[in-house]
């Protein structure tokens, strides 16, 4: 039998999220109880987050980017209007979700006994598409 399924990535695992941000070149801070995001002028903002990319990694006029753990256990992004306008937008979040899903897939597949067969990156007009292949024992 052959079957297709299409899914939308939900970010639940903090370790995979931090690793995914690392894959994209960001060193994220983890704050178990949350920490205030810092704005472009260096002052703390009212928004808090549990996983934070400090603004020094983004740009001198940028604000911190945060991911806050919501009551349902999923993470949501906290992005300022300015940073969305300079490219940290839905498209960027799509890349974060893509990197997260790669971390999750590789880890889950290994834990469940599937054999990793390879990774291929295909450039598309929308951005890089990643193909992972596995076989079942």
């Amino acid at each position: 039998m052959s079957k297709y399924s299409e899914t939308s990535t939900t970010v639940r695992n903090q370790a995979y999220l931090v690793a995914a941000l690392g894959d994209l070149g960001y060193k994220a801070e983890i704050h178990v109880d949350g920490s205030a995001l810092v704005g472009y002028e260096g002052r703390e903002r009212s928004e808090r987050a549990h996983v934070i990319i400090r603004r020094v990694q983004i740009g001198s006029a940028s604000n911190d980017i945060g991911f806050v753990r919501k009551p349902d256990g999923t993470f949501g992004a906290v992005l300022s209007e300015y940073d969305r306008a300079i490219g940290f937008d839905e498209k960027w979040l799509g890349r974060v979700h893509q990197a997260y899903k790669e971390q999750q897939t590789l880890s889950d597949a290994k834990a469940k006994g599937y054999v990793f067969r390879g990774r291929e990156v295909v450039q598309t007009p929308e951005g890089p598409q990643i193909r992972l292949q596995f076989t079942a024992r």
Binding site: S2, E126, A136
Partner: protein, 64 residues
């Protein structure tokens, strides 16, 4: 014996596609669940060869 192959395609918009080949009907659901990781399902369908296989079997039975 046909190889049991799983291809996961990760799109730049954060969606992903899971493609199973060579699995028995009874195990497809479990393998899909293993690779979905609790993500929201947007769509799911059997591939055309599944239906073609059934049609081919019917044709063979009809010829006997």
């Amino acid at each position: 014996m046909q190889q049991k192959l799983i291809t996961v395609t990760l799109e730049p918009d954060g969606t992903s596609k899971i493609d199973l080949e060579g699995f028995a009907d009874s195990t497809c659901g479990k393998v899909m669940d293993d690779f979905r990781g609790g993500d929201r399902v947007l769509s799911e369908r059997r591939k055309p060869e599944y239906y073609n296989k059934g049609r081919d079997q019917q044709l063979q039975q009809g010829n006997q």
